[in-house]
């Protein structure tokens, strides 16, 4: 049994210690907002916050989470910055297929929590998640709007 704190609530889960946090969230806990895309930290669809840091959960073994606070897309609007990011995503009509957007919103939230007024190059550096629909320009515009 491993104890996790996810979105401010304790969870006890039973899984092998090397199980990626991604699949604990999705399959064990049924929190499917966090997406599986590549499994090798290339695409970022699985991005969650660990103590506020954007982290690709497919590369986080359950045993390494420890006492770090896990924040997922399901709770993103409970965070004031996350709420602004979601609002900017909606007003900018960012998503197309939407599959990568949970991870994009998480990455944007982490960026703006650390750097409330990011420059374009800081946005480019932080927002590296893949989007096959090519919504990159809309994403950057929404990050700028959320920062304003």
């Amino acid at each position: 049994m491993v104890n996790l704190t996810i979105n401010g609530r304790p969870h006890a889960v039973e899984a092998e210690p090397d199980t990626p946090l991604l699949f604990v969230l999705r399959d064990t806990l049924g929190m499917t907002g966090t997406k599986y895309g590549c499994g090798i930290a290339q695409c970022g669809a699985c991005t969650v916050l660990l103590d506020g840091q954007a982290t690709r959960s497919c590369q986080v073994p359950l045993e390494s989470v420890g006492s770090q606070a896990v924040t997922t897309i399901e709770a993103i609007e409970q965070d004031p910055v996350g709420r602004k990011v979601v609002a900017a995503w909606i007003s900018g009509q960012v998503p197309q297929c939407g599959y990568c957007q949970s991870g994009q919103v998480m990455a944007a939230t982490a960026l703006l929590k650390q750097t409330p007024r990011p420059s374009d190059s800081e946005i480019a550096e932080a927002m590296t998640n893949l989007c096959r629909c090519g919504t990159y320009n809309a994403i950057a515009a929404a990050v700028r709007q959320a920062a304003a």
Binding site: C43, V86, P95, Y99, C100, L130, R132
Partner: protein, 758 residues
């Protein structure tokens, strides 16, 4: 798909099996069980089948009546709830193209309900939804243009039913009633009834055949940038895709495919050890794969990847299977080396004479690689056999009736006993047709049968890259004759290969020319008087696919690059040459003028800009009933192309949602850019060399240019939107690279060529 589904298009006809059963079954399959479920079933599933109509009776039609025309039976499409929300059962699946919102706009406009009150779901299989020229699919950029009129009429019919139900309830004449936002109003007595209160009565009435449609001048939703109805869910993780679904009691399954398509598992060395791994339910052999079922997907995956499988030997050589020595280079060699003259796809004038009289002849050969779809959602499927002898399948798909037919075949059931659930797609781009062994749902069905439990199969990204059906590798040889003035007098193109329409819908083709192999090369708007285009079929042993804009995705790159070569050989500016060749088409000239204006006036360059020299390329395309003109601005950094700006003038005739149209054009442009710069699936020794996004690079943020889209509504018949933004982008970039570096890239992608310093 465009031409396949246009009954007026020469060479292609939809065959009604009730009157003209096709004589030729698809060629006997070499692809095993799942392929055997392909051709004939596809045919029976997509054609209007009269026998099935008896089952399609709704409450509004009398017993024994023929099923209504697709798209006309209100009860099949609309559920009007007491809280004022409306569930629209859509013929189409939403996968980012915005069709759910578009349909809510179209139906809402006529029904008089704001689009935001709609919940849109993909409808189950059924003849009511065959609104794309009598069949049903989400593809070919067909959804809006094929259903616009019928969906307007459906909304108007439903509104008329509401008014008549209210008239009866209020004991007033129909003409005394109006509607507003889902309410029927009787102004004289200040009484009103909400649609939700009227729906049950309304659906018992016989629909009026001819209801008036709203005057477009009074549109409130159509032609407006109405917000997408699914954006909040997609921005907060609440949107549910196939991969997110779960049913009670299900097992998770992971698979390991044979390294070479067509080989089979023979020995499992460590089966007992794998069975003993945590959570493992069973180890299974499947056609071309092994699988493990377990109580979690991660456990299933770890176990199946631990299996030491001995696979049957591939044939050593040859192109009828994926042989042990199969390579994409070898396949390309076969296309280049074919001596088969093929069949004429387009012929006009006196080509031989024009070449004999030519002052100059230009020749070039172009090639494009296999491409993966690389949509972000890996494919999955859940299959559940029920106690009553039925089967439920949840899966990403673009053609529910075909998946129903194939599922039924795999399960050994009648199609009527199979329910298909079609959740939102995490990207598709042509990925979700059946594609024989290119999809996990047959595996889910076989595993559910074997275990007696519902089973969810999810392909890891690596398994997806190993079995995704591919945009075919392709090859065309171009020749042009120029006169003394440098004007092209003739063009001849020889295309060798295979397209997905021929592979999967060949039994519907009346000629041996596969439209999906030659689209983008034939039917060009340019006034070149003598033309001869041929197609020679050389089949690929690999699974081939529809891929956003299909044949246009490479053929427009070839043709429009070659046109720049012609311009260069004739000493002409490529923009001016196009303008001259379009003298007969005001529509195309207007579009070319528009894109030049958007970009600040045509200039080819090279010219100095921030960071160094840049140049521009221009290209036109006529995909899926729409027209595009594209200009790309490119520089070279460290031997690699960098695209700074894309200007796209886009004429789809008329539109429903300008914001969605612009987003789709930008999205298609990004995919075109990604494909031309980076993408390729390479085979060596029968095995694909890409396993994940690290070995199949796709467009990343740092390579995304500014994209400027202008919609030009010429008023021509409505064209497609989802795909047409793509085909102009690769040639505009290739032409810009040539203008900048002098290098004419004829083998894609650009990343295979080191660009010279400029």
């Amino acid at each position: 798909m465009d031409q396949l589904l246009d009954p007026a298009h020469h060479g292609i006809a939809l065959v009604d099996p009730a009157t003209e059963a096709p004589q030729h079954r698809p060629e006997p399959s070499r692809r095993g069980l799942l392929a055997a479920a392909g051709g004939a079933l596809v045919l029976s599933a997509i054609l209007p089948v009269r026998a099935a109509r008896a089952e399609a009776q709704g409450p509004a039609e009398g017993a024994g009546a023929l099923a209504p025309k697709p798209g006309t039976r209100v009860a099949a499409f609309l559920e009007i709830h007491p809280d004022g929300t409306i569930k629209l059962l859509s013929p189409f699946v939403e996968g980012g193209q915005g069709i759910a919102t578009g349909l809510a706009q179209i139906v809402g406009e006529e029904l008089d309900v704001p689009p935001s009150r709609f919940v849109v779901e993909c409808a189950p299989p059924g003849p009511d939804y065959a609104v794309v020229n009598g069949i049903r699919m989400t593809g070919g950029s067909f959804s809006t243009r094929s259903s616009y009129d019928v969906m307007r009429r459906l909304g108007a019919t439903a509104r008329d039913l509401m008014i008549r139900a209210a008239a009866s309830r209020l004991k007033v004449g129909d003409g005394e009633l109006t509607t507003r936002d889902g309410i029927v109003l009787h102004a004289a007595t200040n009484r009103s009834l909400a649609y939700g209160e009227l729906a049950a009565d309304a659906l018992k009435l016989k629909p009026n055949e001819a209801v008036p449609l709203r005057d477009p001048k009074t549109f409130r939703y159509i032609r407006q940038p109405v917000p997408r109805i699914d954006v909040r869910d997609k921005a907060t993780g609440r949107a549910v895709y196939a991969i997110d679904q779960k049913v009670d009691g299900m097992l998770y399954a992971a698979v390991q495919h044979a390294p070479r398509l067509g080989t089979e598992p023979e020995t499992l060395k460590n089966e007992a050890e794998v069975k003993a791994m945590p959570g493992v339910h069973a180890v299974h052999r499947l056609p071309g794969a092994v699988a493990v079922t377990a109580d979690s997907w991660w456990r299933a995956r770890k176990a199946v990847e631990a299996l030491q499988v001995g696979w049957s030997a591939a044939k050593p050589s040859g192109l009828d299977t994926v042989a042990a020595d199969f390579s994409s280079a070898g396949m390309l060699g076969a296309l280049k080396g074919s001596a088969d003259p093929g069949h004429v796809a387009e012929e006009e004038g006196d080509v031989t004479g024009a070449f004999a009289r030519a002052a100059k002849v230009v020749e070039a050969a172009y090639e494009a690689p296999y491409l993966a779809h690389a949509q972000l959602e890996p494919p999955s499927a859940i299959a559940r056999f029920n106690g009553d002898g039925t089967l439920d399948v949840w899966l990403p798909n673009q053609m529910p009736e075909v998946f129903q037919a194939v599922s039924a075949k795999v399960a050994g059931l009648e199609p009527a006993r199979v329910r298909i659930h079609s959740p939102m797609l995490g990207g598709f781009f042509g990925r979700h047709f059946t594609y024989d062994a290119g999809n996990p749902f047959p595996q889910a069905i076989l595993l559910a049968k074997a275990t007696g439990r519902p089973v969810k199969v999810l392909w890891s990204r690596e398994e997806e890259f190993s079995r995704d059906a591919l945009r075919p590798l392709s090859f065309s040889r171009f020749r042009a004759a120029l006169d003394e003035a440098g004007q092209p007098t003739a063009i001849a193109v020889r295309t060798v290969g295979e397209g997905p329409i021929g592979r999967y819908f060949g039994m519907l083709m009346k000629t041996p020319v596969d439209p999906s192999a030659v689209e983008g090369i034939v039917e060009k708007p340019y006034a070149i008087p003598n033309r001869r285009m041929t197609f020679t079929k050389v089949a690929h042993p690999v699974n081939i696919a529809f891929w956003r804009s299909v044949g246009h995705s490479m053929n427009d790159a070839f043709y429009e690059s070659f046109l720049d070569e012609v311009a260069q050989a004739g000493g002409q500016d490529p923009f001016a040459l196009r303008m001259a060749l379009l003298k007969g088409s005001a529509r195309h000239r207007a579009l070319l003028t528009a894109v030049a204006e958007m970009s600040g006036g045509w200039q080819r360059g090279p010219y100095r800009a921030e960071g160094g020299l840049r140049a521009r390329g221009v290209a036109m395309a006529s995909p899926f009933g729409s027209e595009t003109a594209t200009i790309a601005e490119v520089s070279v950094e460290g031997g690699e192309a960098r695209v700074h700006n894309l200007w796209i003038a886009f004429d789809p005739g008329s539109i429903v949602n300008p914001a969605i149209v612009k987003a789709q054009v930008e999205s298609a442009a990004a995919l075109g850019l990604s494909s031309v710069l980076f993408e390729q699936i390479v085979y060596r020794d029968g095995v694909r060399q890409s396993q994940n996004y690290d070995t199949y690079p796709i467009l990343r943020r740092e390579h995304m240019p500014a994209v400027h889209v202008r919609i030009v509504e010429s008023g021509a018949p409505m064209g497609g939107v989802g795909e047409p933004g793509l085909p102009g982008v690769p040639p505009a970039i290739l032409n810009a690279i040539a203008a900048l570096t002098g290098q004419r890239i004829r083998a894609l992608p650009v990343a295979n060529t080191k660009l010279g310093a400029v």
